[in-house]
């Protein structure tokens, strides 16, 4: 399955290099949501993350000839996303910190009477994720959502494998803790 995706990506990248913008549209469609999730893990601000992602995809299109096929296209893309977000974060840090602290307050005031609908579940999961530390949220999403190996996460994030292992462990624990905090007993009905 992974090889098939890799081959498909390689073929698409070759087509983009030959000037096929339609192929690039397919690549953007394939990776936009996962890339946005990673960006949100870092900057904690969805509109800002989307703006960064717009620039990232333009940058990727312009520099696609520099991609050497030494790694998967997704690894290369996610690395650009992560670097761009950290660069932006340096400029935006004070503003983002305030916005992140508001999320839990909103969440805790919500009622927990009814069984949660799918959309509500998704909202609470995103809220819980927003409460994690940047490194933990990023590593969790890279590992579970983007299905990257530890080695690939190391390439993308620049963290050492041992730090990634620790972040994964803490991320799992804290995610569960945050979900329990937000949902109480409802956590058992989740999924």
């Amino acid at each position: 399955m992974v090889t098939r995706i890799k081959d498909k990506d390689t073929e698409l990248v070759h087509r983009v290099r030959d000037g096929d913008t339609g192929a690039f549209r397919i690549l953007v469609n394939l990776y936009k949501d996962k890339s946005l999730s990673l960006a949100v893990s870092i900057v904690r601000d969805e509109p800002l993350a989307e703006d960064i992602l717009q620039d990232v995809f333009i940058k990727v299109y312009k520099n696609i000839k520099k991609f050497k096929f030494k790694s998967k296209f997704s690894t290369w893309l996610y690395r650009i996303v992560v670097n761009s977000c950290y660069n932006e974060l340096k400029k935006q840090r004070p503003k983002v910190a305030i916005e992140a602290s508001n999320i839990l307050e909103q969440a805790v005031t919500k009622t927990r009477d009814k069984t949660l609908a799918y959309k509500d579940q998704q909202k609470y999961i995103q809220m819980a994720m927003a409460q994690l530390k940047t490194d933990e949220a990023l590593v969790l999403r890279l590992f579970y959502l983007c299905e990257m190996s530890l080695k690939e996460i190391e390439t993308i994030s620049g963290y050492s494998v041992s730090k990634i292992r620790v972040d994964l462990h803490r991320g799992r624990k804290n995610m569960e803790k945050q979900l329990k905090l937000l949902l109480g007993e409802e956590i058992n009905t989740l999924l």
Binding site: T21, F24, V28, K32, L36, Q54
Partner: protein
């Protein structure tokens, strides 16, 4: 929490982009391709720094080359150096004139 369940939970934390996101990206790429490449000029500060560097490097080179062939204190040393600097200055003025010309015709 079981690994499988956690995986599903994290998968559900995926944030979706705006429905017009792809169109916006493609429009930006097309706009970028249509726009002619802008000519980049150095700022006055960069020109000043460049001029000083050229003066130092050329002065050093001219002095060393000249002393290898001519006697110390020969008039050719400052003369050749001055020619180098004047050529550099002429080039900068040429660039500046082009900059003004392009601005006027934009």
């Amino acid at each position: 929490m079981k690994e499988e369940k956690l995986k599903k939970i994290v998968e559900r934390s995926e944030v979706k982009t705006d429905r017009y996101f792809v169109d916006k990206v493609m429009a930006n790429i097309e706009n970028d391709a249509i726009q002619p490449k802008k000519v980049k000029f150095w700022s006055p500060f960069q020109i000043a720094i460049g001029f000083v560097l050229v003066a130092i490097v050329s002065g050093f080179l001219v002095y060393n080359i000249s002393t290898a062939f001519l006697l110390n204190g020969n008039i050719a040393i400052p003369l050749v150096w001055s020619i180098f600097l004047l050529l550099g200055l002429k080039h900068l003025l040429f660039v500046h004139r082009w900059k003004l010309y392009l601005k006027a015709n934009r």
